[in-house]
């Protein structure tokens, strides 16, 4: 059943991104459903990150449309979504100040910022690090901070670019736990990964990209048992496919 208060599903139509005459992204149609765990799979250079950044509005597409179900203003669209980057951007400030800065940019008042920051840090086990400089944290801690910081903004839709790519198994596990918490809270998640294990455990829907094209969009279970395309089969069997 569709949640009538949500701006999702997000529908992508005829999206193309070209640069210097090369087509980097070609997505005829894609639908990101409300409250689903969407995983974007594909080999390196398949256009996964570009797709994410274009959907998030960081890169203007050459042509095509990104539509939301509810008629919402550009500001509102911006406020209701957040993104965590592959290399988390850590401001040269304390962990707490990283939260309050993001909340300030989102227009949250002074007292409210501190309250939300402290609450979010407590939820995700970052309270002990509140006064540490963000840039001396370990890779896993930085990634947790980046995700918690995005979550503190209260988004409906959260994009994550390779959230576990450079982390050890323990840190990856912690990130997955955080994502589970966000999913239970009703946040729609869209993440890219080339970690098949993560995709198997986590995904509701798989978007498979190859050479900039979205060539398969299907239910996760079906994708892993009966992939439709040769490319997807090859990817799942760790075969090279050019």
């Amino acid at each position: 059943m569709r949640d009538t208060t949500s701006m999702l599903p997000l529908i992508v139509r005829d999206l193309r991104l070209e640069m210097d005459g090369r087509t980097l992204l070609d997505v005829p149609f894609a639908r990101i459903q409300n409250r689903q765990r969407n995983v974007i799979l594909g080999p390196n250079g398949a256009g996964k990150s570009l797709f994410l950044k274009t959907c998030h509005g960081l890169i203007p597409p050459t042509s095509g449309r990104i539509e939301y179900t509810l008629p919402v203003s550009a500001t509102e669209v911006r406020r209701k979504q957040a993104m965590v980057f592959q290399k988390p951007v850590m401001l040269r400030r304390s962990v707490r100040a990283n939260f309050t800065h993001a909340l300030a940019m989102a227009g949250v008042g002074w007292y409210e910022r501190r309250r939300i920051a402290d609450e979010t840090m407590a939820q995700f086990g970052l309270s002990g690090l509140a006064d540490s400089p963000a840039r001396v944290l370990s890779g896993g801690e930085q990634q947790r901070l980046a995700i918690a910081r995005a979550a503190s903004l209260g988004p409906d839709l959260l994009f994550l670019d390779e959230p576990t790519s450079s982390l050890d198994p323990t840190a990856s596990r912690q990130i997955e736990d955080m994502l589970d918490v966000l999913h239970e809270r009703g946040v729609t998640l869209v993440l890219t990964t080339h970690d098949l294990g993560l995709a198997r455990r986590f995904a509701d829907v798989i978007f498979f990209f190859h050479n900039g094209r979205l060539i398969e969009e299907s239910d996760a279970e079906r994708f892993f048992t009966q992939p439709e395309t040769e490319e997807a089969k090859a990817f799942l069997e760790h075969r090279l496919f050019w």
């Binding site: 950044k53 998030h56 960081l58 500001t75 911006r78 406020r79 957040a82 993104m83 980057f85 951007v89 401001l91 040269r92 400030r93 304390s94 800065h101 993001a102 940019m105 989102a106 540490s132 400089p133 963000a134 840039r135 001396v136 903004l153």
Partner: protein, 236 residues
Amino acid sequence: MQQDAIPISSILSLLTGDGGNFLGIILLSLQVTITAVTCAGLVGLPLGAGLALVRFPGRTVIIVLVNTMMGFPPVVAGLAIFLLLSRSGPLGDLGLLFTPKAMMIAQFVLVLPIIVALTRQTIEDLWTEYQDHMTSLGAGRLRSIPTLLWDARFSLVTTLLAGLGRASAEVGAILIVGGNIAGFTRTMTTSIALETSKGDLPLAMALGVVLMSLTLVINSLAFGISRVGARFSGKS
């Protein structure tokens, strides 16, 4: 006879000896330099950040001009300000020529391009790192300026020190617009120039040693403070 090569005795006798004159020179130098650099920082930091982030036609030309101005010959700057402030010049009515204020203006003009140019470079580099994050938060380029200036604060200390270096070492411009009037617009560098040409080398050397020591102290302090600060905020 004052033939000793080590001017320490001269410095001591000067500092303890003939009253406030010597101390007055040092204080005036500090006052002029620090005022000029502070004002140039207040104007130059936001201006440099703006130049780094805001796209407008002619931006590249301005960047090249500002970079060129970093090497502006101080005597030429002095001459230009002299003409502006002289009795018959456009700003002559203000009566600023041959006052400490005129020297502050001259140093401000010389320091500003250094601060603008170095700030622009620093902020532009930091923006490439922060751009996605700030855009994702809905903050445009203009709204990102305070964030970037604050996060670049430790690099910007070095920028201010470069400005301070130029100001405190400068003699040509302040000599022209200040006039090197004893007890009023005489600074350490102008005294050194004067005493050297008069042949009073011990006094000139003593002043030189004091000037260098002060510069060393200021730089050490600033370096120490920014090091400690950088460690606390974990800048790599």
